[in-house]
Symmetry: none
Subunit: 81 residues, 4 copies
DNA sequence: TCAGATAAAATCGCGC
DNA sequence: GCGCGATTTTATCTGA
């Protein structure tokens, strides 16, 4: 049946796209590790650096949540965002 | 061999402790749902409430991270926490 | 307007009840982790233990579902459960 | 003290490099999600697709490990890879 | 169906 | 170099 062949081909294509993207992701993850290692080589403490990155990420997330809740309030009050 | 019997009994005891705790946890999760439902019955918007809880949780997490990083700095500088 | 003040107070109370419950939930989640850690200290494999707990949970769900179906049949046949 | 200023600048540069890379990583992670969503829209089962990707990844790791072992043997025997 | 929460698994850097 | 503990990431599940 040709339908199955077509489906199989489609599936293969999707899988391969995903695998390509995952490789790219891994490359970037490795790059991040390299940067930490390089920083460590320059005398910085990885643990502290991670904490800094984490706090800054939380700041950002918090700001975004506050914007979101503002939108929710506006909508609840029947006002245009 | 008795060793296996003892091990099996120990394992069983651990599993049962975990299962009991998980039941307790589920009970509390259900309680939380009930509170949301009750609030909804009093005219409050669940989505907004969740957002409020979420933002307050982030505030707390952020404060804790800041304390942690302070400790890290203090240690890095060789000072007593 | 007093209505708003009352509403705000009510909302605050709901939020605080939820937060208290979530803390309790977290405490129990931590207890569960502790039990796993203790089991590990006694030579058991955490991953396998999780599997056991998970399978037993599924078994339980399955049994309950079967009972429900049985009840449905009984009711459909006009018989008392 | 200029040393501190230099260090601070260096640290800032490292942090920003990491944050840029993490954003790229997130973009790719989102792309992957999109592909899964698209596949789903074409009638494929995401859970099964994840399983396929995971198995292929393990196969690949296994093959690479086998090659490594082969290389080790070859070297141990004083043969060129 | 969709986001958001939770559970489970994997990873990483460190200390021994 | 290896296990440990901690963090991150992935996967599943729930509920609006």
């Amino acid at each position: 049946m040709t339908t199955n062949a077509i489906e199989a081909g489609q599936l293969k294509a999707f899988i391969e796209r995903i695998e390509r993207l995952e490789e790219e992701k891994k490359t970037i993850a490795d790059d991040i590790k390299d940067v930490y290692a390089e920083a460590k080589g320059n005398g910085f403490d990885i643990k502290i650096m991670r904490k800094i990155v984490s706090i800054r990420r939380q700041d950002k997330a918090k700001r975004e949540e506050e914007e979101e809740i503002l939108d929710l309030y506006m909508n609840a009050l029947g006002m245009a965002g």
